[in-house]
Each structure stands twice: as C-alpha cells, then as structure tokens.
Symmetry: D2
C-alpha cells in the first residue's frame, strides 16, 4: 500500500495515516520529497485503497500487490496445462472447441459433432441449460440435452464442454461433461464459483462484459482457493461504445493474461462479435495474439437454429477457417 | 421488424428475406424507394435482428418492439407504486433507505438503525449474505445477521432491505426481510430472477455494470412474468473509461426508465461512486433528476467498518444531506 | 514516481531501475518488504510510468504527482472566479448561458436573446462557425453570424459565448465574443489551445467525449501556461455503452473537478443528452451536484431549427426549468 | 427514415409526423400493424432521427441510409488501392510503415530508416510536428525534422508518412511527405479535413478514441468530398474501461470497415497498446483479421527516446515480428 500525501498536508494528517497503517499491522517506510510525502506500507492483508483515499490530506493511494495470489503468474511461473487424457489446454497445441449454441435434438447434435470432429476440434460445445436475456426465449433441453450431447461426443471421440448456470446443477453436469463452462453473466456468481472450487471437473471461466482482467483473475481465485486448480479462462468481448459488433473483443487481454497469470486463455469470437462474418477474422486474430484455443459456434443448419443462429458458422466456413488457423499457429511456433 | 436492403441487392436476395419473414409468420409490408427497398414485418414473436443482418443483400435490420412487455410503460401507464403498509415507493414521496454495507454486530446495526431513523429513512439496509470480489474478504454473518437486522429495524419501526445472492436463500430471507435486493452482479442470474418471480416479497433490482436500460427491463420482465409485480429498479453506476469515481453513475437512466417503464427507480450513490465525498453531490443529483428514492450507506464508525467504509457517510453527513434533499424534492413537487 | 518490483525480480533488474531513475535526476527511496521491493523517486520532471513498466522485473509503476500544475487546486486553493464586469463565473451564483445551437437569422437570434434574458441567463450562446460531423450539414453564418449575435445580446445586456473551431478565427472572434468556447472535438487541438493562451478573452473548455478529468485539466494547462488564466471547464457527456441518451453525462466529474482543480465547471445537458425531454432532469442534476453554471440550448422554434432542434428547449420549458433550478441552488447555499 | 409510433399513439400524432416528413420532401409508406404503426420515408437529404424521436407518440426512429456516400462500399465496390509509384496500399500486399515516434536527430532518423528498410517497410514514419497531451513535453523539430526525415527515407528508398496537426502546415508538409497522417485527436478537426480534401497528397486518417466506425467514415467523407480520393484509414484503439493496455484495440473494426467502405484500413498496435510487449501480439492479430498494413514504432535506442519509448520496438524485435507476419499474411492469401 502506497499513500501519497497532498502538497500542503499537515503533520497531523500524516500521523493519522500512519496510525491507520499501524492499526492494520503494516510496516511503514516514509519518503519525504520536496513536494510530497510518500508512505509505503507492507502488511499482512488486503486493504482497499479507498480506505486511505477518503482521509484528509491524502492525494493518492495505490495497492502494491495484486489481490489474487493463486491465479498469479509467479505462483506457477511455467504456466498451467489442463489435461483431459491426451488432450491438453495450455500447451503447445491450440485447442478447438466447436458446436452449436444449444442442444436442440439428437439429429442436430450428432451432425454438429460430426462437423466439429471433421474440423479437428477436441471438444464438442453446446448448452443444455441456457441462460437467456429474455424469459420468453428457448431455455434448453436440460438433462436430456446433456445425455444427447455426451452420446454425440462419444461417437466422435470428442470431449464435452457445456455451460453451468447454477450451483445446483453441478452433480448432474459432472455425469456428462468434461469441462464446466461458467458464462460471462455468471463470472461473479460467487456461490457458483465457490462450489466449483470443490467440483471434480475443470472449469472454463468466461470474462464478464464489464470485468477487468484483474476481476477475471479474482473470480478464478475463488475456484482455485477451493482446491480446483484446473481453470481455463476465456475472452469473449467487453461492453464499449463501439457498435460495429455486438461486443468489443479485447484481444489484448490474451497477452495481458499470459503475463499476469499462469492459467490458459481461450477466445470466443462467436459471442464476442455476434455476427457470422466477423467470426473468422476474430478467430484468426485471437490465435495470432497467442490464445490457447477457441470456442466457436457451428451448426448444421444455422438458418434454423433455435438460438444464436446468426453467429454460427456453416460447416464449410469452419473447415476453411481451420485451414487458415493451422498456418497462423505455425507462424508462432504452435500447432492446431 | 424492419429490414433495409442494400443498394444493388438482387430480387432473389429480397425474396429470401421475404421467405424468412413468412416462415416466422410475419405479415409483410414492402416499400421500394429510389435507393433502398424496405420491408416491414409484424409478427407474433421476438426475432433477433441479427437473424436478418447476416443474410446477403441486407443492410440494416431494426426491431420495432422492445422485447419486454410487462415492464413497459404502456402496460401500466399510470406508474407502479410498491406499497409496504403505509410506506410507498414510486409515489410522490422520495424514499430513503440507509444503513451500513454489512451487519457486523448487534451494537453496530442497532446504532445504524438509530441513525437511519433519525435521518428520516423508511428502510434499514444491510447485507447478511455479502458477495465479495475477493474470496479472502469478509462474507457476512448469514442468518444470524438477518436476525440482528430485523430486530434493529423493528426497534425503530423501519422496514428491512437486504441483498439476496442465491435462490436457495429465498425462504430464509423472506422470514426477516421486506424487500429483497438483487445486486448488480446478479442482475442476469436468471435462475434467481425466475425464483423471485414466485417470491412473496417485493424485489429491488440493481442495474448491472454492463447492462443497458433495456437489459435491466428485460431482467425485471423475468420477475414480473413469474407473477411478482412488485419490482423496484436501481441505478448504481456503469463501467466506462472515466476514472474519477469507481463507476460512472448514469443519472440520465433515471428519466430514461421513467419514460420506458412504469416501475419505480432508485439510485445508489454509495456504490455508484465508491467515495464518501462524492456521495452527497450524486445523491442530490439523482433526486433532482427524478429518482423515487435513494439507497445510501451510513455507518456509526466508517473508519472501522468491515466493508465499504470509504463510501459510508458519517451520521452527521447524512443528516446534512437529508436537509438538502428535502429542499430539492420540493423544488420538483415531491416530498421527503 | 513509484516503482514496484516483481516478486522474484533480481538484484540486477532492481539496479537497472535505480540507474534509470538516477539518470533522470531522481532522488531515490527504497523500501524492501517481505514480498516486494518498492522504489520511490522524486524528480525534477514528468516521466511516463510506461518507461518503467516495460523494464524487466517491474510489476507496477505509479506517477505520484499529477502532470498539471497551474490547473491544480493547490495552485489557487480558494478557487478561480472568472469576471465579466459584474457577472461572475465560479462564485456563489450559478450562471446560466442559453441560446440556440447556431445563429440562423437576425430574427431568430433576437428572439432567442429575448428568451434567454427573460429566463435570467447572463450569456447568450450560439455558434457562427459550426463544426459538423457531416460535410453536408449547415456549417454556420461566419462573421455575419457573430455580428447578429453581438447585436442581439447587446439589446438585452447579455454577454456572448460562441464556439471557436480554429486558431485563425481568434482575432475575428475577439471582436464580438466575451467567452471563447472550445468544443469537445477540439479539446485536444493543441495548436488552438496554445494560441488561446495568448488570447484576450476567457475560454470555455469542453471535455472531450473520450477524455478523462485529468486530460481535461491537461488541456486547461495548455491555456493557463500561455498566460490566460481565465479558463472555465464544462462537462458535456462521455462515450459509454449506455444508449438511452446520445452521450453519458458524467455528473460525478463536477465534484471531481472541484476537488482536483480551482477552475469553475459548467454542465451542458443539451449536448450531453441530445434529447429535449432529458435536458431538464440533467440540468437539475448538474446544479444539485455543484456545477457553477449551465449551457442550455433554447430556440424560438425548435421544430424548424437548422441544427440541434431535438435537443433545444421551447421557451416555456426553459422558464419552468429555471424556477426549479433556483430552488435547487438555494438548497445548497447558492443563488441563480 | 423509419418512424415507429407508440402503442396507443393518436391519429393526430401520426398526422404530425406525416406532415413533418412531407415538409422535408419525403415520400411516405405507411404500414399499420396490430400493435404499432410504422412510417417509412424516402427523402432527398439527411435528417437527424432525433428530429422525430422528440415528437409526441413516436417510439423509435431509424435512419435507413448511412450518412456517408463517397466513403461507402457501394461507391467503389471493388475497393480502393492507393498508389505511391510501385507501392500500393489496399492491394494484396500488406504494407509496413515503421519508424520512431518523432524525428529527434539526424543520426537517430537515419538509423531508424535503416532498421525500417531492413525489416521490409515501404514507409518511414516519424513526426516533426508532435501534438502532446502536456504543454511541457517535447513537441518536435518542425520543418528541420521533415528535412531530416525525407533525407533518411530517400537514402533507403522509403516513402514518408508524418503527422499533420494543423491546416497551416499543409504546404510545408507536402514538400517532404508522401502520406499526410491525421492523428486520432484530430479526426474531427473539420477545418483540417476540409483543407486536406484539396491537398495533393494521400491522407492517413486515424480513428479517434471515442469515434464509432460510422464517424470515422464521416470524417473520411470530408476529405473525399473535397476531391481527394486517396484516403487510408487506421484503427489505433478506443477508450473503454479495460485497463490492461492504454487503449482497447477494436480489431473487429478492420472487417467492419472492409464491409462498409472501399477504403483501405491499417492498424497501429504501438499507440493502440502503449506497451512494447503487447505490440507484436496485436500486430499479428490485426494482419490476421485482414488489415491492409501496419504502422509500428521502432527506435534504434528506445530506452533513450524523447517520446513513446515504452511502446517502441527494438530493431531485433521488429525483424522477428515481420517474419511471423509474413507467414500470417500467407495464411490468408496475402503477401508482406
């Protein structure tokens, strides 16, 4: 914790800050400059900088240490590789996860699995419990959907990733799913995160639309601190004023996470853009920037999809994209 | 649904759009201008504009009707007043809800209730189940906190508002709480919203940090469509690049909600700014802009609060603020 | 300048940072904590924190002193009052500046001046050189417009504020205008700012749509450092994802500027919202939050205005609003 | 122009809208649905949707046609290639423009030119007139800088791109510079844009930090409408709440511009990120997403650069990056 006093602040005000730091068990280092006095405090626990910012005579206050520990790069400097049998996320290979937004029917998910497998995906993605902005939209098939999803994936030797929207679904999900996806809107559902810390499956944690990279890592910390160290992050777009795509993909978050954390990070250009014609450019951009994998929506018949049709690729588009991604991965010393 | 074709789009492309509208049971109106052909479709259900935006030859697509119905102003043009005995939210009076961030101890909450009552608040606010960004922060006293909260409120004839963070808490909360608060991070926890549609208590729904006004109203629609018509909204700041306060309070959302919806709307200047010295100006601004009430943090000893101390007012500051608010309310024909 | 070293950074990396600070003539204070080493440097000039952030072993770097000096509150702790004869901006009175977007004709500006005067405005506002987003829009009447503007203002003993969009207009503008307005899009037109530092008239500097409060103060610093100390700031909305109004008015910038700087600050709810029905609520909010004045568009016939008609008030609306503003000003110990 | 009436709006309100459309010479098409009445108007000129939004009984208003014409894709469907002798921008080849932020000395710019040429750049970039946020920062060498820049570029057969910050610099700049760069802060300096419409050199127009893609194209329209059809656009980051990099690069703007406009678009990962370690990932991302070229800062001695040192690559880093970019360009059928 570093506290910078105002020019012209009084010795009494300074003493109040020192008293507060002492009461929090901080060791204090004082630097008196020509203009400003700076206090550096090293302490045993997290304190909100605003605790000091509201004190009289204080100009600025900075937190020195990031509030996440287990998610920080130094905790595992070599980087985390999440393993699913012989499939790795976070290693040299770029991992493709593909499939429709939702499980709609046995035929649809089986065809989707076929497309995903043919394109080289290692995971089949689809939701059975689907959080929707409108209460009047299709909400998913529930456990029956998970069953169809698992069967379709098994047929093509694919792993399964699917969204969990509430902690009461964990036991059911674990029966069918290899990777539990936490959606952007649930990134700060702390009850869910805490329970996932005790889950037996790895977790795919998507960045919230208003979340900073630091907040994403704090949410990961919830899961890690519960004992589940297999967490994969995912960039899927943030809210900004820019309106050419549904969200603004913050591609720079990929190298930023790589520097701050040891956890793998994927990108989801389907939700990040909301429009089919932007998915391929942004998928290429994410891999070029260093993403460890992609989550892409593909549908055997996007024009009749029950949800997210406009952002789902046609099978042929996915094949063409994967060809390009393979070359881009090679350009930076990776495989796909 | 209005679809505008590209300049130079073909008759075949136009026919595809018409076919799609027909397949969705839309009645179609066609306008052929010098440059653009425009199709207007009136249909029985919600369709995502992006369904059409990705079709060849389509330039623009606009949804004509807002996707919320029960939350929209025409549904109850005279406005909703939520009643708690003789206390009203959404009527002529501006309603004050005050209290500490969390219940910390019997003494602390009793003192807080005394301050709130003295300041003219009708509700005592405090959390017993506290969602925190960091897993290492104080998380609340749970049901014991609710018990203390209820007792302290009763002593001063105050109503109780407290945050619910998971649907499994509903039954417990309903025993102690008059108004169930959904925090900004839970605004799109659809499992929770759906269950609150069946709750016996009114709901205070806070706007998410990345939520548009339309999305806020869609989340309200979840609760209303479950049969619980007593919903109160709350503006508490959005994420923007501006860094002078923790969030950016979108004060203009107050008159915007008033125009689009019949539901009452409060403002929370404590969370919206994160700093004590900005709370009073923003509280005054919100009332001046037409807010139906305020949610304000006050603490008997902010310097030793277990959470949110820096944004909690001192008792004396609240008294002074209420004096100003009373005059501002009068200036626009309201009371406080 | 405060530099925080990474956990596990080497002594050699630390030495490189020290060498760099020394080469920049900084005096260094070192604090070695259990986890992090922190260096505090006090130096003679501004250095970009990113200079250190890119060095190996550096975790964080914070600039201690704001890069503006003349615009900072300690430079003139009592606050600046800009005087125009007996009219003051920044004193106890809240100053109203009203008028149409553009001078369109002699009749229109004379009628506007009458409305402004009747409403209690001290300044007549209107543009003669109008920057427009589209090259095909009406661009203003030029010097002839200024002449009409001056005459209309004089008739009602009003002062004149008008927008300057290029430094070559200064000499012409100074003949007719009491207060030179720099629009949001010109806030970082540094050539213009520098020349205004030598102008004989006070300057009204509007915040850019993407500018932080610090950047606004840096732009003010350009003018102040040229010797023109009569600078008035203005909040007029920033860009965010929120779409209920054209821009998002950052009302909290008003108290933020008051704390950081001695310069007066106005608000412009007409440009800040873009819609007539939001102007009154946001005008009231700005005054309630402590703004020193308002810039409001009013037009004798908004439905036929050549620009900004939708955000211009009708005369009657302005009268009603001023009545409310007067009471709100009183509520916080000011006059209008 | 499409106007949607409120549910429950009156026939009289509808007639007022029709009257206004007629007064603006619009041809009207009326569609009466079960819930809403929709008016489509095709007219001879641009009208602001807010003109209708403020009318009683109006729910929504959408502008059908984008307000730019010459910059729109249909105007030149095959795409614009800007030619500089045998160098093309907007063709199959991805064009590299590299160099330091500013011309500092003859030695520095000559060394920079050598690095740029060796890396395969076709343009040497550097500023001689440098707009700076702080009045106390280095502001450039002026015409002497341009002379040094030209000589250094000629030595290595490079073209020159340099920033223009005011219209009075045009004649001087044209003597030395092949491509006139308009910086992000000047994107809406309409006086400058209009004069550049008459300039004899192509223009590189950077997107402003708060500008939508539509506003960028409107600014291009200013230049095109003056007769200068050689305009190249550039994405360099927008303002958002995300703080991991200085700005948020909106990589999706690249394919968005490609769809809406015929003009070439570059990306500037140096200004877009502000940090050296993020430049290479974002440069790769931009090329992968389809950018027609890159503007990259490189400096012979970044640690002692007079400006932007932290975002300037070392020579070796640029060479390594270009090797990767070449492979990525090939992956999507382009060269570099």
């Amino acid at each position: 914790m570093i506290v910078v006093m105002e020019q012209g602040s009084t010795e009494e005000q300074l003493q109040q800050v020192i008293d507060k730091l002492v009461s929090l068990d901080f060791t204090i280092h004082r630097s008196t400059g020509v203009i400003h006095t700076v206090l550096g405090g090293v302490g045993p626990r997290e304190v909100d900088p605003e605790e000091f910012l509201v004190m009289p005579g204080v100009r600025e206050c900075h937190r020195v240490v990031a509030p996440y520990k287990l998610a920080s790069r130094p905790f595992r400097a070599e980087g985390t590789v999440v393993r699913f049998g012989d499939v790795e996320v976070g290693g040299t290979a770029v991992t493709l996860m593909a499939g429709p937004c939702c499980v709609e029917s046995e035929l649809q998910i089986r065809e989707s699995a076929g497309i995903a497998a043919q394109a080289g995906a290692r995971f089949l993605r689809a939701s059975a419990f689907k959080p929707r902005t409108s209460p009047y939209s299709f909400q998913g098939l529930g456990e029956q959907g998970l069953r169809l999803l698992r069967a379709a994936a098994d047929e093509h030797k694919l792993l399964v990733v699917s969204e969990i929207s509430d902690h009461t679904q964990i036991a059911t999900m674990e029966k069918y799913v290899d990777l539990l996806q936490v959606g952007a809107r649930s990134m700060q559902n702390f009850t869910l995160l805490r329970e996932l810390g005790r889950a037996s499956r790895p977790v795919l944690l998507k960045r919230g639309l208003a979340a900073t990279v630091e907040e994403l890592l704090m949410s990961a910390e919830y899961i890690l601190s519960g004992g589940n160290y297999n967490v994969i992050l995912c960039e899927r777009g943030i809210r900004s004023f820019a309106s050419a795509t549904r969200e603004t993909m913050d591609i720079a978050a990929v190298p930023a996470v790589k520097k701050l954390s040891h956890l793998p990070i994927l990108a989801d250009p389907s939700h990040g853009t909301g429009r089919r014609d932007k998915v391929a450019p942004m998928a290429r951009a994410a891999v070029a920037a260093g993403a460890d994998g992609l989550l892409i929506e593909v549908h055997p018949d996007p024009d009749h999809a029950l949800s997210d049709g406009p952002q789902s690729l046609y099978a042929g588009q996915l094949m063409e994209l994967v060809g390009q991604l393979r070359l881009i991965a090679q350009a930076i010393g990776r495989t796909l």
